[in-house]
Amino acid sequence: MNFLILKVSTFFLSAFLLIWVISLVRRRLLIEEYSFLWICIAAIFLTLSIFHPIIDQVAYWLGIEYGPSALFLFLNVVTLIILIHVSIQLSDYKSKKRILAQEIVLLRDQVQELSKQLIRHESSNL
């Protein structure tokens, strides 16, 4: 009985994750680059919640005696990879943001210089 409750609850949790990701994509809160990743992860959870003997089988292949340990290992590795990936993206955005800010400052200066020249030019023509 307890086992059935676990199965049903993990199924619903995975389904909720999948639906949530899809709704985020539909509302354009998540660009498709990331949605692909999260849909894959949600799909894997859903599959595992329905066919949970897969976990035990994979654990057995890896020489891990306790099935849920294999699941935790898998989750930790995936989380770590995603975090590093996000750090890479963040670094990229930070350096691009710096370049853009510097460009803005230099362009603003050019605009000011040009408008000063224009005013001088116009007043000399009057």
């Binding site: 350096s95 710096r98 800010a101 510097q102 803005i104 400052v105 230099l106 200066d109």
Partner: protein, 232 residues
Amino acid sequence: MEKILIIVPAFQEEANIAAVIEDIREHLPAADILVVNDGSTDRTAPLAEGLGVKTLSLPYNMGIGAAVQTGFRYAFQKDYAECLQIDGDYQHPAREAPRLLQALREGPADMVIGSRFIQPTGYRGSWLRRMGNRFFQWVNILVMGQNIIDNTSGFRAYSRRAVAILAQTYLGEYPEPESISYLKSQGCLIREIPVQMRSRSRGTSSITPLRSIYYMVRVLVSILSFKKPSRR
């Protein structure tokens, strides 16, 4: 006469900026001054503009590295022959600046560092800064094979070549020790001459013990990521 640009990075320096500008005008009357206001929320920018100095205001606080690099990009665009960095905190006396520029021309050098520690010049600085300097001295000896004594001094003169390199390459939030290693890795020549510096009289220093350690580790990682210089 070659065009010279004095880059003055300034963050919250309303107490010092006017004195810095007057000091530069007194000792380097022919040079152009550029104040790079690093997102100050005080009156740094209006004070500098009020004195008729070209002022570039960054849209948010980007750190000394990005502020100085903005100056290098400006100098590169406007084709200045030489640049000099004088910090906005009034610690770098402009009276020493002509000697830096002279050393740059006599060189050969692409960067001349005004050093506080080559000779006993009266400057001691906090124990933290001295420790940090000693640390970078050894890092630069080991990695680049050149003994630079004052690695954290921002009082420096740059050749057109150094400016072109630094305009294109961003060296992190704390650029002083890194730019030495990086310019060296690009085959630039670096000199160091003793200068007198003032102690900070107004405003507050940003150095705290914990921050210093964090700073050293960050810069170390950055320096080690550079390639070794080719021998020439």
